[in-house]
Amino acid sequence: MWQELYRELGPRGLQIVTVAMDTEGAEAARPWVEAAQPAHPSLVDRAHVVGELFGITNVPSGVWIDESGAIVRPPETAYPRRPNYQDQEVPPNASAADAAAIAEVKKLRTEAEKYVSALRDWVEHGARSRYALAPEEVLRRSRPRPVAEARAAAHFELGQHLHRLGRAEDAVRHFREAYRLQPENWTYKRQAWNLLGPDQTPLAVYGGDWLTDVREIGAENYYPPLEM
């Protein structure tokens, strides 16, 4: 997805690194990475370490880091172009739930043009770009971490670890707790739903699923507006 932009901005000095937040590791990420054939580093994060370190709660999220290693924009929604899924037609044989999900997906605020034009500006002007934020603004915009969210992170990490150990039922207990403590964290929820067995549904196990939860908050709030 980022390869095209890397071809444009790489020669102007931008490095791009993608990180797949996938509990199931390289196996889960490989089909996408092999299809994209990126020339930039494409990493795998089995423990969602970047989520915790940077405060990422939905994907795709981008972070800008300058030449000295300082963060100049904390995590925010990052699309390199309008995603294909927003232009898909509802297939004639689609279930009611699939048709409803497609309708919601079209309402998501992805703001690719705004993001990419800011990125181009930063690549050209560096620290003089109005999009490169001052240190105190970077910290202020990063995600607050109240006690409940810190606990959610610990439960989510335990859940992932137990899942990888083959203790799926114990994992579900911790994922539920993470879900309860930080319901707005989509990376926790979507990852946990994805790890369920073929005969389990997110609604039955966790009391929510993508369509239900998106409708609850409103699709336009799934990605917060970019503060450019």
């Binding site: 990493l43 981008g62 880091i65």
Partner: protein, 112 residues
Amino acid sequence: MILETLEIDSVELERRTGWQIKPQGACKGERCVPLSSVGEERVDARLLAERLGMPLVHDEPSGLWCLGPEAGGRALVDVQAPDLELPDIHGRAFRLRSLRGSKVLLVAWASW
């Protein structure tokens, strides 16, 4: 970070959380929090959890513990990017630090 015992290896602690054990205590960026037992290779998880405001969650069936991130502040306490090291899809380790000197766009995505 996942713990099998309540004794944390300080090298592992730094790699996973960015908190470094120094003679003056546990430090991250400019901030240092005193610990009573200092300069040791192993740190007591309960002490660290209490001093740094980190949750310590236990899973009884497996006997495992998890030390979560420090609560009360923000996800970023310092603008210096954490020294992230992750494998690529072929298992080769990559350090974010190796891109020092360039502008970097780090993008988190997922297959799910």
